[in-house]
Structure formats: structure tokens, C-alpha cells
């Protein structure tokens, strides 16, 4: 058991280092601005004095490494400074929106994961059947469509032509959960369509890979019934790839959320990021990017750790 702990701690450390490097990239990218931040905010027409005053206010007169560590120290305790556009602390802007995005992502994931795994396993078991072929074409179509295409189709048919669900998913705090679920259904369904397609294809590939292994053939040859081959021989080894697939797709979900939020005017962190990019509100952009990157790394880490925990060969490396 000690070994496992050691491996996991090692992976966590690696993830932390990656996050640190990414924070340097995110911070450093803004340093690459032609001119500097103060110039970029005020524009070319600003006088020398106002730019100097702005520099003072933003602390740009200090060297970059000093500012980086100050920024990082703030980021660790959740203080990203103030928004340039509105002057509100970035954390206040991000906090409730991050909760909304998480709500949407979890909602979509709860619907998508069981459906995708079930369909993926079925497609793998009955491969090259009608079901498998139709599923292949449908998932390929769903993967290839931009999120906004799927989103607007759903809006057209489920919100405009038949008013089953609202086309715009605005939320407020005093709504009941059922009301919220109803409002957020269309963006969640859009995400589900994309994620199910990805997840199902990956699950199918993983299971087919598994069913091709020699010990499955051995089990079949010695006359084990199909059901038992699946439950006793295939399934215990299928967990690792399936957990991997789920975590990777949840990571995908986190980024897919940006476009979907814009389509449905959903008050989430993706919408905030896009707005801030248009307004060139750098502290908010940096904070949003860091939050996205951290979530992404965390989920990839979860995929790693999950596959280690379920795979004895990785648990006890030679």
C-alpha cells in the first residue's frame, strides 16, 4: 500500500509542478504585450504622465519576477487583484460563475457518463452490427459538429418550435433546484451530445482492445459462458481504461463549456473569460485561464491515479 501512496504523491507533485510552469506561462504571456500593460489599457493616445501613473497603480515599476511572486502568492489564497474594467475583485467575479459552470458540468456529466459507458460497451460487444455502425456514424457526426451548431439545433427544435425548455439559461439564487435543472437543460444536453460521442467511442475502443487479449480468448476456449467472460474476466480489467476515458472527457467538458455558455448566455466562467478577452481585462483573463488549467490538470491527474489504483501491474511496478 505504501508503494501506491508514493506513486500518487509523486504524480501529485508532478501535477503541481506543471501547474506552476503554466502559471509562469500565463503570467509571462501578458508580459509579452507590445509596449506594456498600462500602454495597452490606455491606448496609443494616452499622455506620458497618465501611462506613468497607471504603471504606478498597477505596480508595473517593479521587476517582473517580483510581480510574478506577488501574483502567485495572491493566487494561492484566492486573491487575483481587481478587474481592470469594473474594479471589482476578480475573485468576486469568478466565484459565483465558477459555481454555475461546475453545476452545468456536473449536470451534463451525470447524464452523459452512464449512457456513454453503456452504449460503448454494447457497441464493443456487438461490433460491426447495425447498432455499432449507426452509432459510429452518429457519434462521428456529433464529434465533428461545432458545439454551437448542436446548441442552435436544440434551441430551434426544443425552445422555439416547441417551447419545452427556455432558450436562454439565466440563473438566480432563489430558484429551486428543479427550476434550475429545467433552465439549464438545453446547454447540458448540448454538452451531453458531444461528450457521450467522445466517451462512447473511447470506451468502445478500450473494450475492443481488452476483448482481443489472449486471456479472454482462453476463457472463451475453455467454454466459459459469454456473460461470465464479461463479468469475471473482462470487467475487472476494464475499469482502468474506463476511468481514464471518463476523466479525460470530463476534462474536455470543462473546455467545451466555453462555447456552450456563450450560445445559451449562461452566467458561467467561460462567458466571463470570453467577455474579458474582448475587453482585454487581463487580471480576469489570467485568473480564468489558471482556473481552467488547474481543473484540467486535476482531472488528468485523476485519470492517472484512477488507472494506477485499478491496475495491479501499475500498483506494484517491477
Amino acid at each position: 500500500m505504501n508503494d501506491v501512496l508514493q506513486i500518487i504523491v509523486k504524480r501529485l507533485g508532478l501535477g503541481l509542478i506543471t501547474l506552476l510552469v503554466i502559471s509562469i506561462i500565463i503570467f509571462g504571456a501578458v508580459e509579452l504585450l507590445p509596449g506594456d500593460l498600462a500602454q495597452a489599457i490606455l491606448g496609443q493616445a494616452a499622455t506620458e504622465e497618465t501611462v506613468a501613473a497607471m504603471r504606478e497603480e498597477l505596480g508595473l515599476d517593479r521587476p517582473a519576477p517580483v510581480r510574478y511572486f506577488a501574483w502567485l502568492k495572491g493566487a494561492v489564497v484566492g486573491d487575483f487583484g481587481n478587474s481592470l474594467a469594473s474594479g471589482i475583485p476578480v475573485t468576486e467575479l469568478i466565484g459565483p460563475r465558477f459555481k454555475n459552470t461546475l453545476f452545468l458540468a456536473v449536470y451534463a456529466a451525470i447524464i452523459a457518463v452512464p449512457i456513454a459507458i453503456m452504449l460503448g460497451v454494447l457497441a464493443a460487444l456487438y461490433r460491426n452490427s447495425v447498432f455499432d455502425r449507426v452509432a459510429n456514424v452518429l457519434t462521428l457526426t456529433s464529434i465533428s459538429s461545432p458545439e454551437f451548431f448542436l446548441g442552435y439545433i436544440l434551441v430551434l427544435f426544443l425552445a422555439v418550435k416547441n417551447s419545452l425548455f427556455p432558450a436562454i439559461s439565466s440563473l438566480s439564487d432563489d430558484m429551486s433546484l428543479a427550476d434550475k435543472l429545467h433552465r439549464v437543460f438545453l446547454p447540458a444536453l448540448t454538452l451531453v451530445l458531444v461528450v457521450v460521442a467522445h466517451m462512447m467511442r473511447m470506451t468502445r475502443a478500450a473494450i475492443i482492445n481488452l476483448l482481443a487479449s489472449p486471456y479472454i480468448e482462453m476463457a472463451r476456449l475453455k467454454g466459459t459462458p459469454q456473460r461470465k467472460v464479461i463479468t469475471h474476466h473482462a470487467l475487472p480489467n476494464a475499469w482502468a481504461p474506463v476511468i481514464n476515458v471518463v476523466a479525460l472527457n470530463l476534462a474536455y467538458l470543462i473546455t467545451g463549456v466555453v462555447l456552450v455558455e456563450v450560445v445559451f448566455v449562461y452566467p458561467g466562467i467561460g462567458q466571463l473569460l470570453v467577455d474579458s478577452v474582448t475587453k482585454r481585462d487581463f487580471p480576469v483573463v489570467q485568473a480564468c485561464c489558471l482556473v481552467f488549467a488547474a481543473t484540467y490538470i486535476l482531472l488528468n491527474l485523476a485519470a492517472d491515479v484512477g488507472s494506477i489504483l485499478t491496475n495491479p501491474r501499475l500498483r506494484h511496478p517491477k
Binding site: 506543471t18 462521428l140 464529434i143 461545432p146 442552435y152 456563450v262 484540467y296
Partner: protein, 353 residues
């Protein structure tokens, strides 16, 4: 009950019986499940829903017909190895090839095909479709159809350029890393690991917010973002090849690493790299369209499918399909490419499971 519903079910039941009589299991299962679905959909949505199903089925049939005739055409006009490959291709793949051809024609001959200029104001804003404007007007009264055709040139052209750039950098670095090995390889591989742990859309938003959104920065930024995955694949593919004996022989001959890459490795790595090129193109294309949709990609008045969706998005709340047309154009191209790549991967893997 209207004659349409009676006719609909009569045709469906008849076709199912024919399929059962000829013991065609695939067709029977498809038709039967379609019939069951129709019962449910018909009960819920009424006649209109059944019409929708009919239209969709007719579209699929038309697509299959096009794919079939195109495959026959290619089998007749091609010779040798290519003919053999096409003959066994699934209909989805030939459909993909056909659609890609249409897009290329639209992109190359855009000024001839389009009745109006890219930014030419023809009618009133959001004008309905008529003989002059085949698909109606957009929010400024420009011809939707002309812009769609020019969009093939702009959106696809930019995506192609970006993918080529990413591939040039990615494969060169990847193959060099595989050939050189050692610290050069290690440093590149580690930095790629880090770069790949930032979600692409978020990373591109960050970079575009800094460098501004003109076409050349867009191309460069997205190309750089897509270098890591290409690098990884190229390095993995080449990693399997550099251990071969003929590479060893070439090394002993004293060949330069450039010669190794171009003459020895590249010809043997081309199949997976071409398939990867198709897939990567789809990702780049979707990313650029997504950015344009967010208003951060190609800037107006350039006709571009992503921004066309955004500009006309308000129409959707009046039940108009106009904004779906450019979005559909994006989807159709990526689907077509994916169909072709799927078939190529299947062929090159030799998997006959």
C-alpha cells in the same frame, strides 16, 4: 387519419416485410426500429414529426445515392491500386470524398459561383429568400449564399494554412527529436507535456487577448498551439522506425540526420501522418470557427462561417434556420473529413475485426 400517415406506415411496413422476405437482417432491423420510433414520435409530435422523419430519411437516401454513384464513377475512372481501394470503400468514405471535392470547388471558384460580392449589400437586412438571394440576406442585407461560398475560401483556407504550418513545425521537431534523442528529445518532450496540459481553446483565448485578433496572429497562434500534439505523434511514429535495421544501416553509411528524416523515416511514417493531418485539420477548423463565433477569429467584413452564425444568431428565436446553414457547412466538412480519415485509418491498421 390523413393519407400521408396511411401512406407512410404502409410504405414502412411494406419495406419491412420485403426486407424480412429476402432475409436481409440489417435492413430489416433498421426498418423495424425506424417503425417503432415512428410510432412513438408520431404519437407525441403528430404528423409534422413524421414529415421531419421522412425528410431526414430522404436526405440520408440521397446522400447514400450520391456516395454510391460517386464510388461507381471513381471505380470506372481510376486504375490499378486506387481503383481497388475505392471499390471496397464504405459509402460514408465516398460521401466524404464527394463533399470535400464540392468544398474545394466552391473555394477555388468562389468569385465565379457567388452571384454577389463578399461584402456587397444587396437587399434589406434579414431579407427572406427569393430568386435573387437564394438563402436570403444577413443582418446587413448581404447575400447569404455568396457569403457562404466565399466563406469556404476564407475559413477553409485559413484553417488549411494553419494546419500546414503546425504540421511543418510539429513533424520537423518530432522527427528530429526521434533521430537525435538525448537531451534535445527530453527537453522538447517535457515542454510539450506542459503545453498540452492547457486546454486549447483557453490557451488560444489567452494568446489572442494579448496579441490582438488579426488574421496573421490568428494563424500563428493556433499553429503554435497545435504543434505539441503533432510533435507527439510524429515522435511516437518515428520512435518505432528509428530502431529499424535500415536506419542503422543509413547511420553507418554516415548519412546526415536530415537525410535520415526525409529519405528514410518520412516515407514510412506517411500513412499515420496523413490521417493525423485530416484529424488535426478538423480540430483547427473547429477551433477557428469557434473563435470566430466568439468574435475573436476572422474579423468582419470577411465572410467566415463562424462569425456568420454569430451575426445571424438572433434569427433563431423567430424559428428561422438561417444561422444553422453556415454552422451546418462547418459540420458537414468536418464530418466528411472524419469519414475519410476513419476509412484510411481502418485500411492502414489492417484491422479486420
Amino acid at each position: 387519419m390523413s393519407p400521408f400517415i396511411v401512406g407512410y406506415y404502409a410504405l414502412l411496413i411494406g419495406a419491412t416485410c420485403v426486407a424480412a422476405y429476402f432475409k436481409n437482417r440489417t435492413a430489416f432491423l433498421l426498418l423495424f426500429s425506424l417503425m417503432l420510433a415512428s410510432f412513438v414520435v408520431g404519437l407525441v409530435g403528430g404528423e409534422r414529426a413524421l414529415w421531419t422523419i421522412t425528410v431526414v430519411a430522404a436526405l440520408i437516401a440521397a446522400a447514400a445515392g450520391i456516395a454510391f454513384t460517386f464510388r461507381e464513377f471513381l471505380t470506372i475512372s481510376l486504375k490499378g491500386e486506387a481503383q481497388k481501394a475505392i471499390k471496397s470503400a464504405p459509402l460514408t468514405a465516398t460521401f466524404g470524398l464527394f463533399m470535400i471535392m464540392i468544398y474545394i470547388i466552391a473555394a477555388v471558384f468562389a468569385p465565379i459561383i457567388a452571384p454577389f460580392g463578399e461584402a456587397e449589400v444587396v437587399g434589406s437586412s434579414f431579407a427572406p429568400a427569393d430568386e435573387v438571394m437564394l438563402l436570403g440576406g444577413d443582418q446587413l442585407g448581404r447575400d447569404m449564399f455568396s457569403r457562404l461560398v466565399y466563406g469556404a475560401r476564407n475559413t477553409v483556407g485559413i484553417a488549411l494554412l494553419t494546419t500546414c504550418l503546425a504540421f511543418l513545425m510539429g513533424t520537423t521537431l518530432g522527427l528530429l527529436a526521434a533521430v537525435k534523442g538525448g537531451w534535445f528529445d527530453q527537453i522538447l518532450a517535457r515542454s510539450v507535456d506542459v503545453l498540452m496540459s492547457i486546454p486549447t481553446l483557453v490557451f488560444s483565448l489567452l494568446l489572442l487577448s494579448i496579441f490582438g485578433t488579426n488574421t496573421s496572429t490568428l494563424v500563428i497562434v493556433i499553429a503554435i498551439i497545435y504543434v505539441p500534439p503533432v510533435f507527439r505523434l510524429a515522435r511516437a511514429v518515428a520512435g518505432n522506425i528509428v530502431v529499424m535495421d535500415y536506419i542503422e544501416a543509413a547511420r553507418l553509411r554516415g548519412e546526415h540526420s536530415w537525410h535520415l528524416i526525409v529519405r528514410e523515416i518520412l516515407p514510412n511514417a506517411s500513412a499515420p501522418l496523413i490521417a493525423e493531418f485530416g484529424l488535426r485539420f478538423c480540430f483547427v477548423f473547429l477551433l477557428i470557427s469557434g473563435l470566430s463565433f466568439l468574435g475573436l477569429g476572422l474579423q468582419p467584413p470577411t465572410a467566415d462561417w463562424g462569425s456568420m452564425v454569430k451575426e445571424n444568431a438572433t434569427l433563431i428565436s423567430f424559428g428561422e434556420v438561417t444561422p444553422l446553414i453556415p454552422a451546418g457547412a462547418i459540420a458537414l466538412l468536418t464530418v466528411s473529413i472524419n469519414f475519410v480519415v476513419d476509412w484510411m485509418l481502418y485500411r492502414s491498421s489492417g484491422l479486420k475485426t
